[in-house]
Amino acid sequence: MIHPLIRARALGRDFGAKRVLRGLDFAVQPGGFLLVTGRNGSGKSTLLSLCAGLLAPTAGELEVAVERGEVGYLAHEPLVYRELTALENLDLYGRLYRVPERRERIGMLLERFGLWDARHERIEAYSRGMAQRLALCRALLHEPRLLLLDEPYSALDNEASGLVDALLSELAGERTVVVTSHDPERVRRFASEELALA
């Protein structure tokens, strides 16, 4: 029995008086692909934040068997500075994550997600879809073992959504992935297991 990469036992999280998650039990094996579904407000984003280590559980236990620098996290917000350019943002993250051959890797990702031509523009000039694509670059920059993607398709047009399909197809089986989506049909074909939140 391989040790699971993520294991939750009776996991719960409150925000003050509001209980968002309660009594969750699940495990994700290395190389697994977990799809988390649920309507808005069911706690999908909270669950990803917990797995990333940004939030601590207020009930139960959560074990995530990866180092901090091996997690790639895609949140609702792109987590980039609006006054800096795409290149400057990725360069900063590249340095903090000690990415080897930083420049090449950044260039490769920007090209892949169609942002190379816009690399010197500030994020405040980006469309929502471009910012989302940049956020994907940021999450993948350091080749993380564990990917936590919160609504990866949000704000993306058909072409860009195709890029995400290709990405998920590539990641499935190679890395451990947890994806939330309120349009689960698109992701189901990659997922090895599913978790539905009440």
Partner: protein, 229 residues
Amino acid sequence: MSTSLRNNSAIFAVAAAVLLLGGTALAFYWVPNAPLEGFRQRIFYFHVPIALTSYACFGWAAWKGLRLLWTRERHYDLESYTAVHMGVIFGILTLLTGSIWARTSWGHWWVWGSRQLVLFLVLFLFYAAYFMLRFSVEPGPRRANMSAVYALFGVALIPVSFLAIRLAEDLVHPVVLTHDVGSKLSASQITTFLVCLAGMLALAATLYSNELAGKRLDGRLRELREALQ
């Protein structure tokens, strides 16, 4: 867990009652008048023990805060918070008794020349901001962490502020007002003082255990109510 706290609380309450009643009696009837100040000096037997108890509460809060950061066990947050609460209550009492003493000694309700008064004013502002911090952050692990860090800063602030106030005296040249408790305390004075100090500490311990037990009960009730939903 809650029963032991209740038992502790009862012991402290009895000790506090005995020591405080005894201490008050000693302070008013047994100890002779201080040579220069006379009868009104007796408030010293309350003011200084209250001040020392306040420091002890803040120190206890910082210790609990440190334990929280070290072990991440959430129960320390409530303990640290309650200790700060006690510290502030005794701090306010320090300011009140100090003010009364200042009024009877020098005719003013507030004197900048009194080091203890000024120090407690600064600390009061600091710990009042602690409550503002807690009110404006959502309850949870983050608030607990921040409160613990703030409590640690408080304990570092106490000696640093005291030094600053001493230095400030040289600067502003006020008349440095200290109460004349005599160059050497007699045995009876020391005894009375220690009894009152022990009494105040016991009182703080009583209030602390009581409030902690009450808050824990509230927490348990809330948990049970939610489990039933």
